[in-house]
């Protein structure tokens, strides 16, 4: 953002002020994530930068807490990671199936009561999690699914579908319906048309919705706290317990792994978004 040479001094000053505000906000957004990295390699037990770390002394760094995370005797992270992945994967599959079907219906111009139905389907994203947690807990307790993987998966499908519905409806908004009619006129049945024509075209939207559903489930703690027993503990629940009781560097090792995971997801989501925009012919 170079300024033209004729800019008056006061606007020049204002411009640099504006740029420095922006720089501060970007720093505020991203810096907290980078505090975790170095501290997770701390050789000591305290969550502050030791003198050795400040002088970049190699002895002050170690993989101690990563070893503890993986091999630690009493550490619940193995079980928690297994549960988290199982629950998130099934919740994602469920959300994708239910959400994509609903989005297809909602994008049809024949859909009756579109507004109110859309508002209902999106509501789990808007309603405070604590209320969703209480309501889902009452339901799962009644049908005997509290403290089971199934119960948590169902709860996460509830929370995950709004994201799939939103992203897939957005993809479908630029969808040219004449291609499905062309397929039908060439003798394809609806299921075949969907699998061969519609699905490949909306796939970026479906996958990015799925990523949202995955992250929602993988990161969700409020509802799981209501539903989970000891056997169903997940990574966020363990982190929550750890953060409440005592901040140990092992948590930072886990957090570092989670940041790496979210970076991977971010890259995937961005690539998908650009591909989807290219497909829909939006060139910005």
């Amino acid at each position: 953002m170079a300024l033209p040479s004729y800019t008056e001094t006061r606007y020049r000053i204002w411009h640099y002020f504006y740029i420095s505000i922006c720089a501060f906000v970007f720093f505020f957004l991203i810096a907290p994530l980078f505090v975790i990295f170095p501290l997770s390699f701390n050789a000591e037990e305290f969550l502050v930068f030791s003198e050795g770390m400040k002088n970049l002394d190699p002895d002050a760094f170690s993989l101690r807490w990563y070893k503890d995370m993986i091999y630690g005797t009493k550490n619940p992270w193995g079980l928690a990671a297994k549960n988290s992945f199982i629950i998130a994967i099934f919740a994602t599959i469920g959300s994708i199936i239910l959400g994509t079907l609903a989005a297809l219906g909602l994008s049809s111009r024949h859909m009756p009561y579109k507004g109110i139905i859309m508002a209902t389907l999106i509501s789990p994203m808007i309603v405070p999690l604590i209320i969703s947690g209480v309501a889902i807990f009452f339901f799962m307790a009644k049908v005997g699914l509290a403290a089971t993987h199934t119960g948590i998966v169902l709860a996460h499908i509830i929370l995950g579908t709004p994201f799939v519905v939103i992203t897939v409806t957005a993809t479908l908004s630029g969808f040219d319906h004449s291609v499905t009619r062309a397929a039908a006129s060439l003798g394809s049945n609806p299921v075949n048309t969907f699998m061969k024509i519609t699905l490949p075209l909306i796939l970026p939207g479906v996958i990015s919705g799925g990523l949202f559903a995955f992250v929602t489930s993988f990161d969700e703690v409020v509802v799981v706290l209501f539903l989970a027993g000891l056997e169903n503990t997940t990574i966020p629940v363990q982190m929550w317990t750890g953060l409440r009781e005592q901040l140990s560097p092992t948590i930072l090792a886990v957090a570092t792994c989670l940041i790496i995971l979210s970076t991977l997801i971010l890259v995937t989501a961005e690539l998908l978004r650009r591909r989807s925009e290219r497909l829909r012919g939006i060139n910005r």
């Binding site: 953002m1 994530l33 930068f49 209480v134 971010l266």
Partner: protein, 420 residues
């Protein structure tokens, strides 16, 4: 269709209008069937349970079911003087039935909440029934009064009558620091015990200021992202999206490290000489921590809608404003800013909705003075196990959120929520 014009018929002789309507109906059903599985699933597992929260929050059937005869006799009692013999008898037989089922203790405790001293009053009646000291062939009223003088006081009978309706709004009143006074009117609790009102106000206050901070910080960077050339803005966009995709607990953890007393923020303050090393301020476990952490966590939800609106504003509009003689500030204020109002509305409403129900971050960094209404709901769900009160508070919060959601839907439309 007028009678002169001929009806258009399809090849099989059905009027076109009818045929089209039929096709339309078929399409409607098809579209609905696609939505039906998710809708049904949500209604059963989500919408109805929220309804159940409502019935739980107003439910007060326990005593209604325990004292059926008493309440039947009480229908004709005006509630001003001591009730007649029939009411006493009704209560006696109800209570005797409860003693046989061993449920009299629950009744005593529940009535004691309504009027102090009930527990001991009913216990004495219980002992007399156990020892079969009550002669059912003579006046029960006189015998009960002999057992305990409290039965001779009209307030006690009024207290029983108050518990008659199967539904009560008492939990909602409690959520607003009010209660039913003995005469049935609504009264305020003592000033020093009004904890819930403080929490409601604090929740609103924190949600409002977090929204304001997010707006003040989000607007400049959304503007920068929207006006920079793509190759720079894509890079900077990562700064917004990476926190957005990162686990909430990870972000909260990093704030706990930064804000602790020996943390980096305090180190920095000491370094630049803002505070002395021995008087480092407490920045966590209070409102400051909640504000800072929640603002950073919710900022992407403000930036993304603002960015998507600003992206559509042509830069030539600002140039036109300036070429017509406006200073850059005037051009911004009169041309650019009004065009971004939809984005501001969307971002602010979204952040406010999310902030008002926040739970995890305030619970971890908020301490006692930074907790919100959600934390109170969780407390009653998990610690006191007063689920009907938790439900009532939850629904009060929900009704507030739904109003904002409704406004959001009117202004922005739920299908326009931008996700990254």
């Amino acid at each position: 269709m007028s009678s002169e014009t001929k009806q258009i018929l399809t090849t099989d002789g059905i009027p076109l209008e009818v045929s089209l309507k039929k096709a339309e109906k078929k399409n409607k059903i098809k579209a609905f069937l696609l939505v039906a599985p998710l809708l049904l699933f949500l209604v059963i597992t989500y919408v109805l349970p929220i309804g159940e929260m409502f019935s739980r929050s107003i439910d007060d059937k326990m005593i209604t079911n325990m004292l059926p005869k008493t309440f039947k006799e009480m229908e004709t009692w005006d509630g001003k003087e001591l009730p007649p013999e029939e009411v006493f008898a009704g209560f006696y037989y109800d209570y005797k039935a409860l003693v046989e089922k061993q449920e009299h203790g629950k009744l005593g405790q529940r009535l004691n909440k309504e009027k102090n001293g009930f527990n001991s009053t009913t216990k004495r009646l219980f002992r007399n029934i156990k020892r079969k000291k009550i002669d059912e062939s003579i006046s029960i009223k006189e015998q009960m009064i002999k057992v305990h003088p409290n039965w001779n006081k009209v307030e006690y009978w009024q207290a029983i009558k108050r518990t008659a309706p199967p539904y009560t709004l008492a939990k909602y009143l409690k959520g607003m620091d009010m209660y039913y006074a003995p005469d049935g009117s609504v009264a305020q609790v003592d000033e020093d015990r009004r904890i819930h009102r403080i929490l409601w106000l604090r929740t609103l206050e924190i949600a409002f200021f977090v929204t304001l901070f997010c707006f003040l910080m989000g607007y400049p960077i959304a503007h920068l992202l929207a006006t920079l050339p793509m190759k720079y803005s894509n890079l900077l966009m990562i700064c917004v999206l990476l926190p957005f995709w990162t686990s909430l607990l990870v972000r909260t953890a990093s704030w706990m490290i930064l804000l602790q007393q020996q943390g980096i923020v305090n180190d920095f303050f000491v370094m630049i000489g803002l505070v002395a090393d021995d008087s480092r301020p407490e920045m966590m476990y209070n409102k400051v921590g909640t504000y800072v952490a929640m603002t950073q966590i919710l900022l992407p939800f403000m930036v993304l809608p603002l960015y998507s609106v600003m992206k559509t504003i042509s830069p030539s509009l600002m140039r036109a404003g300036k070429s017509l003689g406006g200073t850059p500030f005037v051009a911004f204020w009169k041309v650019y800013f009004p065009l971004t109002i939809p984005g501001i509305g969307a971002g602010c409403l979204l952040v406010f909705i999310l902030a008002i129900g926040y739970y995890i971050t305030p619970a971890l960094v908020g301490g006692a003075s930074g907790t919100l209404i959600s934390n109170q709901i969780a407390f009653h769900m998990k610690q006191t196990l007063d689920w009907s009160f938790a439900s009532a508070m939850g629904l009060m919060l929900l009704s507030g959120v739904l109003v904002i959601y409704w406004i959001y839907n009117k202004l922005v439309g739920v299908d326009n929520i931008k996700l990254g």
